[in-house]
Symmetry: C2
Subunit: 192 residues, 2 copies
DNA sequence: TGACGAAATTGATATAAATCAAGCCATGTT
DNA sequence: AACATGGCTTGATTTATATCAATTTCGTCA
């Protein structure tokens, strides 16, 4: 898949389109990266200078809360991985990115991307859609975590992210769902 | 306060600025509204066509989950009230807006606002900052609700929204903090 | 292929907060 | 001013899920 194809795919995924010139501009800043299972793509304390488009594989974002690892998000094929806080605020991240499978991602340097936004209304539209999506998604997630039992949270998760549910290790799914691995195990066994 | 002042205040609040022309354009679409305590500003099932800038007063956004009223957000002076889902998706809202005090708000018709975004890069920048802020805020909130005890959630809330903590009725604060009014009472009494 | 360490399961117990229940206090109304 | 209504407080009990502990299963690499 060529970088220009990636650019189009990215736009399509967000419900927008790019003409050839915009797609080429955008594609020109992509940095392809092969990643292997267990690899850290963004380490604690680094400032996130890119967001990522996943072409192949599965990633998770996680942070530490009182020494416990908490998974914030899973991303697989054609999802966009970004650490809002660090990238927008230019602060060292507390949210790490890790590859859970071998795969291929495309790094999009954020500063260059923002420059393209100012030059191309189509790319700005893309960015706005990305933010809008992130916001809607984030609010939906918060909602799911309010007033849902462990079992319901798991069922919602399986429906919404079937790929992650199949491919990610249980302990990460458990921490994503705010429950212990023991509880996840019981939910899966139908005991909860 | 004139509409143009409101526009500037709005921009400043979001860390951007508007030149006179942009401020006047923006101000021209504001619709001033006096609201009274208990008044519903957006009812269930309506499509949110505006977002609101609060000049004076206190509002809350809430929805029903299994018949229980859940407060999602409080906004007071110079906060911006918006129902992302409904406004962006143009769907009937499940998130209602209610005034908790007498006050004054300024309605900003979203379609007209988006049109101004396309015409004015300064206003587009304002919108992007609004979305970015909303995203960061939303993620912070999700985080606060993960792994914090009832007491910690209350303490965080008081620190972050001292005005709402002082001015809003306890039962709404309790539902915002995902606890029963009984628990909030015990937290406040230092019993939890 | 076998063996080791990590992950998942299963069971027993502990705990934070919900629920249920009753009474008290404030606020606003006739 | 008396009353009523909703909101807050306080106490007793229940419940979902965490925690602790002991195996079992699985995935990875020598």
């Amino acid at each position: 898949m060529t970088p220009v194809d990636i650019a189009h795919k990215f736009a399509t995924r967000l419900g927008t389109t790019l003409d050839e010139q915009a797609a080429q501009r955008l594609a020109s800043i992509f940095v392809r990266q092969e990643v292997s299972k267990g690899e850290t793509l963004l380490a604690e304390g680094q400032v996130a200078r890119n967001f990522l488009i996943v072409e192949q594989g599965l990633t998770r974002q996680y942070y530490y809360k009182n020494g416990i690892e908490v998974t914030e998000h899973f991303c697989c094929e054609w999802d966009v991985v970004y650490c809002t806080d660090s990238m927008l605020m230019r602060e060292p991240t507390t949210l790490m990115i890790e590859a859970l499978e071998d795969g291929v991602v495309h790094n999009v340097p954020f500063d260059e991307f923002r420059r393209l936004c100012d030059e191309s209304p189509q790319i700005m539209k893309l960015y706005v859609r990305l933010l809008e999506d992130g916001l809607v998604e984030s609010l939906r997630k918060t909602d799911a975590q309010r007033f849902e039992s462990a079992r319901e949270r798991y069922e919602t998760f399986v429906r919404q992210y079937p790929e992650a549910a199949r491919r990610a290790p249980g302990k990460h799914i458990a921490s994503y769902l705010l429950m212990t691995p023991e509880s996840l195990s019981r939910v899966r066994a139908g005991l909860l």
